[in-house]
Amino acid sequence: MPAVMRAAAAIERANIPAVAIGATGFEPLGRAIGRSLGISHVPIVIYPGVISTDDTGTFRRKLSETVVPQVVAALTGGPPGEAAEQPKSAAQIPRQAEPEPQDVVYSGVLDDIQSYFTAQGWTDGLPVIPPTIDRAERFFEFTDRSPDEVIGVLPPDYREATAWNVAVNGVMAGCLPEYFPILLAIVECLADPDFRIEDAGSTFGWEPMVVLSGPLVSELEFNTGTGVMRVGRQANTSIGRFVRLYMRNVAGLRIPPGHTDQAAIGYTFNVVLPEDDRVVDELGWSPYRVDRGFPGGETIVSIQQVVNISAPIYTSGDRIEHHLETIGRLFGNAIGPWAYSGIVHGGWYPLLVLSPSVARTLARCGVGKDELRDYLYTNVRAPAYQLERYHQHVRNTPLDLATLVRRGEADPVYARSDDPERLVPMFVHPEWIGIVVAGNPNRAQSRAYVGNHKHAPVSRVVHRGSRRR
């Protein structure tokens, strides 16, 4: 629905009337995005039901009886069911007064604050630390940036992301003021067009994951060891919570009521994944920040989207091929036929978290990050038909990998033969596989994080203020 509304906005800006079509349940999202794009007058015609699962007869009947009459009415100025909800021109639209950044919007005791914020839809369902001016101002002791600085504008609500509201939401999430430079770098990433936050409300229900690499990991006492991806350590947890809270409050991604997030099921926020620099140094491996193209002395945040996580990948034995084979098999199992999305859309960046003992074993056998990536690219494969069939399930349109290859949109390796059972690579490029060392140092376990399509990881240097204490 967001893509449909974005195209409708481009069409309306060209002074050509547009009509949008969506399925039941997507109207609130369409209307919310329409408001945010300034086109809430655009009629949205609703297909009643689930397009993917209606049989052909039902689909055609619904088109004839419901959709087509609404489209005709909408094209000729009549309302498509629900009336268009906006006056005819921008000048006629009253702007609802909203608070200034430092206006006090409510005063009360702790329980009152929680109730008020919950009623306003400004919490993630958990209690928040009351965002007082004093608390937010303390964050600015750790940056040189001005509270008024606009970092970007975040869809679907198209609100300004400012240093001030980063601090306010950081307070609410339970972050310490010392974390503020990290929060600012995170929001720079969220506002980067390559992150595509406009897709964050898609039905896939992907979740951002922040990887932190550099000296601040130990300085701010992030957990890099046992239970690294569990809630429990303030730095990892509160910053992970901040990301989702900020996407709710400033980007405007909300589950019902009034939802703009269409995650069909989704999952909860990720805590920050910090890299274990000591092990990386010991092995002589490049740290994640260097893999991302940054100097080793900097701390960087990197954000990517995650749609699912592998089973725990346990490996053992003296033979390196046993370790590699098991990592590859369980990584591949986690990806499954979803691999189609990386091939079709590009920009697909799975991430592998190696516990220190697995990393040591690989290094001892002469397998570094590049060798591991090459192994995974070469050996993790799936039958072509599974990917093509799953594309049909997800998008309700056919996929023929051979056609993509003929059009130059996929590597020839995907059409070496016309056998539907032929095995094709599940990773698009070896260099797109991220590798981070973290986790329980006493257990040989890895985990793979499977990305959403189109989105590359976005990274920023964390800049600490010169006035910091």
């Binding site: 906005a9 004839s64 189109k454």
Partner: protein, 112 residues
């Protein structure tokens, strides 16, 4: 010494707004035709969810009601929800392509 009937005093907090200023720019509504006869209708697709069947059904119905209507198919405009680069390029090119084909109104689908 604290009296038993004394109410404990909870601190009060004065709190600020966690949102940001709206950057929405309102687009004026385009003029819709009263009658589609002689009009050109474009179909714009995100390459999802049975769009061609849907567009064909709409086209047939409109042709019966308005024999003078003309149509421009979705393939002229490309995928508005493909790869990142493809999507951005095709959406940016929409106004020019619509004008090139003298389109009067557009149906955009399928949101689901």
């Amino acid at each position: 010494m604290k009296r038993l009937d004394e109410e404990p005093r909870e601190p009060r907090y004065e709190v600020v707004w966690p949102l940001g200023k709206s950057a929405v720019e309102i687009v004026d509504e385009s003029q819709r035709a009263e009658d589609l006869d002689g009009q050109t209708v474009a179909f714009v697709w995100d390459y999802l969810f049975r769009g061609p069947e849907m567009f064909e059904a709409i086209k047939q119905e409109l042709q019966e009601r308005c024999p003078g209507a003309r149509f421009v198919d979705y393939d002229v405009f490309g995928n508005i929800h493909g790869s990142d680069a493809e999507e951005k390029a095709n959406v940016a090119a929409l106004p020019a392509r619509l004008r090139e084909h003298r389109v009067d109104s557009a149906v955009v689908a399928v949101g689901a």
